[in-house]
Symmetry: D4
């Protein structure tokens, strides 16, 4: 079945209307789909001029298969487990997106957020390993944080980073809990709860390890025009 | 102790620097504070030109006491349990903030978000009782939703509203789970989890029943200028 | 031990009475049983004229062993992890069973429901990848949904699909949460809770990933006669 | 705002289309609404010929107020906390609905289910205090159970009743966990989980204490016609 | 260090006093210990005349190593993952221990209970696959159940078996939840909660999959003498 | 309806067969039943010679009503919230039942266990306030513990008492977690989990605050005869 | 029963040995004990020269009764819900104990910690309302924090305070989560988890709202002598 | 970027100030970092005279790589999964640190605590396999426990060890729950909750399996000087 705004592949109905409706084409969630299913969806998007097209949670094996289909047009970022068909949009966001993370182990999630924001047309400033147990490291980045139009704050364990940043900046803060930790971190639940209970106003939260969602939302906010 | 940016009341250190640092003065969380403690904090804020000053989670008894201190300058909104000292800021936000809620029982939380956004200088459009089990009610509001610069989506029970709205609009969606429901809603946990797992991109979440946080963040986003 | 209504294999007491008591023979739960145990149970059912006999949660290795025992009479459906001895019952259900799922990743569970319903004698309409974040895809299927006698709605993540469908149709809706998702989906708990709290009346829920249960129940409902 | 299918009361948008769309008018969830809000909604429904109209989770005080508005047309059932405006629909359901409950303490939830089913036009058979720890009491009701077109099984504590009934009958079984119990019953969670994990096929589950949902769904199933 | 009642192996202090203090020697919990550690502990027990000595949760690899140390004196039961050094105690228990389980998948836990009870000197009656969804299978075993001095009831999923048995017999019932199930069984939590909330009196519960604990306790009860 | 083994009161089916089937009549769970319902059930039991009849979880108001019905034949124990119609059975249990509790706050649950055991014909030894943080208090009771035929160990907070007692005695230990505690005790969950994970063999567990269940089971064990 | 080290009051065994064994007499946990029980325990402690004696979690009514027994020797601190018989020990601790709390609502728990530490002979420095969302308030206290020998850090909501303090000081930090918050704070669980997952080394945690435990442990550490 | 107190490696900002600020250099959390990342951080620490430098949660493969970089200066402790660059600090702690564990399976966590304490300059006394179900084993160590300046108590399963030790000694007790156990131990949650609810005063808790945190804190306490 083929309609003006949707292609039915049997296992998937590709939403071709989304780009006009929401400003960016459908992003493919790679987990639980086979490599061929992903490739077919990308082809459908590509045939409808929806580049760049992104795939998240893509493991290396599937990425290799997809790369063999699309060749050099497809780029794979192994740390962030993101695949991208086509080039980044031009960086037409209004300000910068700051992506801060608490520890080196949070890097994959932070990179997912940063790469998504870049693909969607944003200039990104990376501020990594600035956890609250060594405040001087975070305070050394105060200027970059204060000059960003939106901040993505990524942290596992006790998830305190967004609260401290939220108290320093005027920009909206998107908090991303990560599953980094062990024992009573319960796969990121401790950080998630901390962020939901942040005493700093201006903080909102996305799902555990959802770097994609944070980067996507940051881009939306960073593209908000003055005349509505 | 009195310094340039903080007044120490013994039981509280009023953050007088916040208005310049973050664009709006400290908001008082009313729960767990006595009426006199709240009044003292409001006086300190008032003496430092921080009107309007807001108190959230304020019950009627404490509100009556505070009203007796400040007279007509203090307004109490019983449904939203909010008190406000002084008048709303002029509505200088760039676009409108749409506040949608799923059912009549979610109204107190939605009103908290709406009143906070209004106090902070935003034009608010209220779209109430538009739950997903009667889609035509929601679709009838499509235009108001699409023309908003930021949407606050409030829902209890299964918390599906932000996902459906998130698929309709291009604006950032702030999801607020409410504790409306019973049994396996677990005081709002079901709605919270649903919102964190929203398949619609562009959605972020605040704490259960945190209308204040949503209204505050909506205002921040709605005040973002074009030149960063 | 051999009685009229039960065969004792030592490790299992095959319920031979069930077909007459409940209209369909015992369905074998494949997990936690060895391939030989399953084959022995199938033989016992077969010897008592209980075809078709179904095995659920059957992995490919065990399926291969069982196929080597029964040959062409045994069919294995790898995506749904179902094995079937014998042919589907004739499609003597009164109406159609619609099986809808939210995303491509939910397909295995949806297929389990669909194949079970077909084995038990129902005509099935598959409506896949109709998640609520792209409402137009779901609304495009409105007619198939409205004309079904019973609907199975399968979704992971925020599990909103049954609520939206429940508001559109008059038929009973059987909601199946899936473990699709990550982080705060907690292996399907988010979807499960959302479905239990559905604000749409006429919705009931089965266990996470329990496509079998949904297909079985759908068949029971679809076979209900007018004269009780 | 007044349209053909919805009346906007400000705090509520009454869904007047539902009766034609889904066969029964909107049911009012009484919790979290004021008595006047409920009365206004009932008036709107009444003005649109949607009798009988039901209110669930209605406490005695609100009921008294509403009775003062509608007089003898309004009936309140204190044990089930249900209010009904108008008379029951004629009992035009195809078969009987059996409502079984495990213990005397589960009675309020069972009555909610039974009264809703009766209001919606079903003949109901009540089988109370038939918990599995005294099997002979349950087995004494075997005939009523087997002759029902659909069974509602209500139980708190360990929630085993639907599993046992599910093994005895061919009809669909709607399981309702109740919050009866203490300690590790966790307000009905133990019963809910037991029912979701029922080893009997043909069982589906509604929310804890959701007698309304079970009665409503039972009615839907019991009204399914032979020609689809 | 060597004292009269304890041997210190560095990594373990073997409790040599337990046999006289509590009637049976220390039982070795195999998980998290290396094969050599287990062998060393067994040697210490053996040197102090504590046969039979049991090892629980012993995987096949470690068992093979231990067998190579002790030769024919060591027996391994792979399904129950139990190792035994020496022979079973003579069956000097006063009555029989009935071990019932709900499904074939619960067999490993049931066997652990049965083998432990036999090792400790009890006559065991096995009643397997008697789940409550096929009551006639359970009722067919009524006599064996009623004549047992103590009953061990093993079940996963909804864990209803002990409640039903508890209503049939006068003997103490030891309930063992198993991790059999999926989704909302949460690794046995559903069964555990059901058993803790059993409405049948005379039922107590051990940890999930703790067949050993049930068999051990059953033996203690079965050895209670008349003159205290 | 009146049959030989059950009286149907409408809201309850009194199990008159239980005494002969299980050695003691039905025990009435008082919570969630009205005083009149309880009185009616007691009358039915009394009319069938089932004295003593027990009511658990009975608050003082209902007890007063029942006492007004039965006069001096009815005794109420306010701390344990137990009512008893008739006198204790003669103490024909074989040995003694020791009831130990960790702290003074656990006393109500311990008394419930002790009174039930006494009503059912057992000699009870009370050992109160012997928590593990003051070991010398527990060790001072070693002889009473060791000479008991069965031990009931009641504790809230960290619930360590059964583990320590379980290492000291040869008798079966019935562990009763209580809801005594705050914060991370989660209403008794901490104690419950500790007891389920006891490293001492011979320990089994009943529901939180279920003194009744422990006393009942202790009596069953204490009445087990030598010739089975 | 009266022995040299324990007085048995029936409902309690007062541990008179504790002062010599552990440096301070038994502290009475007031919840779940009657006023007379508490008074009796205090009398027993008093008779054995164990002043000061503390009662925690003491409500105003019980306190009034106890004050009527002991007169001016008994002091009640309503905010912290602590009662003290006798005077504070002389402040013989080696350094100071700093008690910091994040918000005004955390004050009762912080005061419980501070008063306990003072009663046990410590000089206490109170640093209140220094939450991480206004870092300058916390950093203004850096000197008091750095010069303390042990720090108690009290916080509800996201519980980030101990992590930030833990990165600033060399002293041991005792983290106390409070139940301050709402929604996803789950009565203090969010703060508790955050503290257990603190990325700052040198932090340990006590139960939610356990100001007593923190003050007690702080005192122990502050009294540690140089020669062990 | 290179500053006086922090080296920015891109993926990590090595905190070189910590040694002077807090008495010991940064400890590297090995999980989620690559072997090369860890080696680079160690080099940075080493270049700034921060020996000994510790890596925790280091698996054997990464350790082998690091050893190949640093040669004999790097030691790996496989059981505790700790790597150490350089030698232990001289044992300049004031007293001894006792590390007790309940069972042999808890050994890895206990060793992590012990090795960390030794690296940081403490004399450690190991008391292993002293679980509360065999009290005589624990009581045999009473002298070592009582003479320690601080005690680390490590236990899985029911986590009772710290409560019992806390009642015996005057020193601060650091409780470490381990993930040893199965079923309702929930990966250490049962032990964690037990320890948080310990009725013994003077006990505080670190994260599940956090031997490092316990050893680190023990060292801090053991190095507290008399003159503050």
């Amino acid at each position: 079945m083929m309609s003006c705004d949707m292609e039915d592949l049997g296992f998937a109905r590709v939403d071709l209307q989304r780009k006009s409706r929401q400003g960016f084409g459908e992003v493919v969630y790679g987990e639980g789909k086979t490599a061929s299913q992903i490739a077919a969806i990308l082809k459908s998007l590509d045939a409808n001029a929806q580049r760049p097209a992104l795939v998240t949670r893509l493991d290396a094996d599937k990425a290799a298969f997809i790369a063999s289909v699309f060749g050099g047009d497809f780029t794979y970022f192994p740390e962030a487990r993101i695949g991208r068909l086509g080039e980044n949009r031009p960086a037409d966001g209004i300000g910068t997106v700051a992506v801060a993370c608490a520890g080196t182990s949070d890097l994959p999630v932070a990179e997912e957020a940063a790469l998504v924001a870049e693909a969607l047309g944003n200039k990104v400033v990376r501020l990594y390993d600035v956890g609250v147990a060594g405040l001087h490291r975070l305070l050394a980045c105060k200027d970059e944080l204060k000059s960003a139009r939106v901040v993505v704050a990524v942290a596992g364990m006790e998830g305190a980073l967004p609260s401290v940043i939220g108290g320093l900046v005027e920009a909206p803060v998107i908090a991303v809990p990560t599953s980094v930790g062990y024992g009573a971190s319960f796969g990121g639940v401790a950080a998630l709860l901390a962020m939901l209970n942040s005493c700093a106003a201006g903080v909102s939260v996305v799902n555990i390890d959802n770097g994609f969602g944070a980067g996507f939302l940051a881009s939306r906010i960073n593209h908000l025009k003055s005349n509505p």
